[in-house]
Each structure stands twice: as C-alpha cells, then as structure tokens.
C-alpha cells in the first residue's frame, strides 16, 4: 500500500515530462507459474507525445563487480548450463505505438520445452521506448546548423518462471564492516542455496554497548548465484567505543507480494565493531 502511494506521488509529482521520452512499466518483476504459463505487464505513456515501444528478452542476472557494487551480467547466447527462459518467453504484441497518457497490456506467454525439468528459469524483459520526434530548439531551417537528438529509453526488468517445487536459501560468510567518518560500509559473501534465486531484503542495525540501536537501514537484494556486495550507508558520526553490527536477510520485499517470494528462515549474522 505504501508503495502504491509512493508510486502515485511519483507520477503526480513528476517534474515537467517532455513528450515521447519514457514509459512506465508495471510490475517491475514478473513471475510466471508453469501451470499458468502467462502473465502480463502494463505500459503507460505519461508524456504528451506518442511513444514507439518494443518488447524483447535477453538472459542476465545480478552479480557484483570487483568493488562490490551490483551490476548485471548479460549473456547473449547462454548455454544449456544456464536456466534461461529467453528462448521461449514471447511477448504479444512485441511492438506498439502508445498514444499520450494511454496504457497498453503486453501479454507474456511461455512456450517451454515439453521435457523442461522442475526449477526456476530466468530472463530479462527489455522494454524499449522511443519518441517519434526530433527535439530541437527554434524553427528548423536550412540557413543554419541545428542539432537534434532523439532519445530511446530501455527499461530492463526481471522475469522468473517456476516449475514444480522451487526452494531457495542463503549462506552468509565473511561479514565485515567499518565506520568511515559519516558512513558505514558493510561487506559480505552471499551464496544462494536451492533452485531459485533469493529475492528479499538485507536489514542491518548498529547497536552500542548498551544495546541501543544507533543506526539501521535496509535494502532490497537479489542473489541468483553468488554476490559479494560492499555497500555504504550514511550514518551520524558515532562516539568512540564498541558496537555490534547485526545483519538479517529475510524473504520480504516492500515492493513485491509475499506470494511470489520464496520463503527462507531469516539468516542473522553479527560482528563486533570498534569506532576509534
């Protein structure tokens, strides 16, 4: 409910939106059950100009780079060792021109192989929106040099296809952290267990020697294989002393229904920290 309100505020509160330069995609994550084999996404053009939209698929999953920041590993032609659904998820229609302030339902149909083993399969949906005009200032004329750039926006969201009983889990190792003046940096190694990706939330709190929480926050997290995030949060400057960092990984997301999340028992870890 809170996210709906945030979303509504975001739409109402959007700064001046030029026409033909964007599209709203809902939902931002797709889950398809093998028994149903279809889902839908809604597209909405909030601008003043028509938008040409195309929908396609590609295989990819989140990883962390050498600095611990999340990024997406894209694989154009995944081999059979990857649980790719890219080849058999189809969008209808694949191309559409969306008038201003109109919506369009895109139906996603799955045509998996007949002998598909139980498990979870992934793809990424790419929604490309392109304006149909060349924006320039002034009046186009051939007695001067003018420049106009068209913009295409590609929104890439996740799709998961599940067949049979799919489970997930997480193992956490090497939790480490340090307080840097006005921020807290947390790192850990995460390895997914089971057949399905872990989609959930990382919560953390920093407690002082008296057990009082001095800082806390959370963030959405997705672990498809392994992840070694190193993340930094701004915090108030802390007095010198001993602290305890408590982290918890839970199968909850503010932005997703619990129906689509694979449950796990919360994974709690803690370490002691010294602020000099």
């Amino acid at each position: 409910m809170r996210n709906l309100l945030i979303f509504a505020v975001a739409i109402v509160g959007l700064p001046r939106v030029l026409g033909a330069q964007g599209v709203l995609v809902a939902p931002h994550a797709i889950y398809i059950d093998h028994r149903v084999r279809s889902e839908a996404i809604q597209l909405y053009n909030p601008g003043d100009e028509p938008v040409e939209i195309s929908v396609s698929t590609t295989f990819g999953y989140p990883v962390t780079d050498t600095t611990g920041r999340p990024t997406l590993r894209m694989i154009d032609s995944p081999d059979s060792t990857y649980p790719s659904a890219s080849e058999w998820i189809q969008a209808f229609p694949r191309r559409v021109t969306l008038p201003p302030r109109r919506r369009q339902t895109i139906r996603l149909l799955a045509r998996p192989p007949a002998d598909l083993p139980d498990g979870e399969y992934w793809t990424r949906i790419i929604v490309a929106a392109k304006g149909g005009r060349v924006p320039v200032s002034g009046v186009a004329a051939n007695d001067r040099i003018q420049v106009g750039l068209t913009l295409e926006v590609r929104t890439v969201i996740a799709l998961s296809y599940r067949k049979g009983n799919v489970t997930t889990g997480l193992s956490v190792s090497d939790l480490h952290a340090q307080v840097l003046d006005d921020s807290l940096e947390i790192g850990m190694n995460l390895e997914r267990q089971g057949e399905g990706a872990f989609i959930g939330t990382l919560k953390w709190r920093l407690q002082d020697a008296e057990g009082q929480t001095r800082a806390e926050s959370d963030m959405p997290l997705a672990v498809y294989y392994t992840l070694e995030p190193r993340l930094r949060w701004p915090i108030d400057r802390l007095p010198a002393g001993r602290y305890q960092l408590v982290t918890e990984l839970v199968s909850e997301r503010d932005d997703l229904s619990s129906d689509v999340l694979l449950p796990i028992d919360p994974v709690r870890t803690s370490i002691d920290l010294v602020v000099p």
């Binding site: 409910m1 996210n3 709906l4 309100l5 979303f7 509504a8 975001a10 739409i11 959007l14 700064p15 001046r16 939106v17 030029l18 330069q21 964007g22 599209v23 709203l24 995609v25 809902a26 939902p27 931002h28 889950y31 059950d33 149903v36 809604q42 909405y44 601008g47 920041r69 999340p70 997406l72 919506r103 929106a129 060349v134 320039v136 200032s137 002034g138 004329a141 051939n142 001067r144 040099i145 003018q146 420049v147 106009g148 750039l149 068209t150 913009l151 295409e152 926006v153 590609r154 929104t155 890439v156 996740a158 959405p220 997301r253 503010d254 932005d255 997703l256 229904s257 129906d259 689509v260």
Partner: protein
C-alpha cells in the same frame, strides 16, 4: 474473503483513485487455488529535458555541460533504495537530415559528461560518470525514490559544415535489480 484477497481489492481501490488510467493490480488463476499477483511497485524512466545544443556555428565547437540548463535530464522512479545500472549508448556523428545527403558532424561525450543523483533534481551536486560506461546508481529512500541523470556533450562542426538539421539517437538503458 481471505486476507490476501482483501489486500488485492484494497490495492485496486487505491489504484483506481490515484491512477485512473492505469491498472495497478492484476491477477491470474490456476486450477484449484486462488492466485493473484499484486503489483505494488513500478518503474518509470522519463526524459525531463532534451540535450539541446540549439543553433551552432561552423568551426566553433559547442559544449553543453551536464550542469547546464540545456543539458539532457532524466528521471528514474521505482522501489526506494533499489540499485539500478545506467548506461548510455551514444552516437559519434550526427547526420544531416535536411541538407546534403551523407553530411555528418562529430559529437563526443567525455568521462564526466554525465551526472546522477538520488532524490534531488540538483545537477551541481550530482555524481559525475562516464555515460558510455555501465554505472551503478541507487534510487532514493522514501518519500523520494528517485534517481536523476544529466547528460552533456560536445558537437564539433567544421568551418565548412553544411547547414541543416543534424540528428542522432541517444539510448539510455536502465536495469532494475
């Protein structure tokens, strides 16, 4: 009515009030069991302003900084605190669409031609980044789950550059985790 079903109805009501032209809940069914998918969040990527070089002079390079008022600007809205990656696919030349066929003009983007910032539309405070390199950003916390992006660049017309309208295509790819 189950608790879950009630939540769906509640979401649909809020959606109907707040977003009359957009369905924000959807459902599908499976044999023998009630099943509904509640859409509680969305992602929207929008262009707020075009990268505008205006009219340029032959032989005079024109640069728009990402902090300039005529820089291109974009807004990503989604789940609070979510990570995203941002990449621009950029042209190296612009093509004259109204003058002599085949005429082109160079356009370039440097390692600090783009900026991004959570929550606020304030390019001066933005984090510089190379628009041609995949960059990790993050949406703001509630109640401003936004990431703003700004893009500048340089066009370099030759002294004998033919008049006309030069166009090119900029692609912004936003990956939502």
């Amino acid at each position: 009515m189950s608790q879950g079903a009630g939540w769906v109805v509640a979401c649909m009501c809020v959606g109907a009030v707040a977003l009359p032209s957009l369905a924000v809940a959807q459902g599908s069914s499976a044999i023998g069991t009630a099943r509904a998918t509640v859409v509680t969040a969305n992602i929207v990527v929008n262009g707020l302003a075009d990268l505008d070089f205006g009219t340029v002079l032959g032989g005079v390079a024109t640069t728009v900084l990402p902090t300039d008022a005529n820089a291109g600007s974009f807004l990503v809205t989604g789940n609070p605190n979510a990570f995203i990656t941002m990449t621009f696919t950029l042209p190296t030349v612009l093509t004259n669409t109204t003058g002599p066929p085949g005429t082109t003009m160079p356009i370039s983007f440097g390692p600090t031609s783009a900026r991004w910032l959570r929550q606020l539309n304030d390019p001066a405070s933005g984090n510089p980044f190379d628009p041609s390199v995949v960059t990790v950003g993050r949406l703001g916390p509630p109640p401003r789950p936004f990431t703003y992006l700004w893009l500048g660049g340089t066009v370099t017309p030759s002294p004998a550059q033919a008049n006309g309208l030069y166009t090119g295509n900029v692609v912004l790819t936003v990956v939502y985790f």
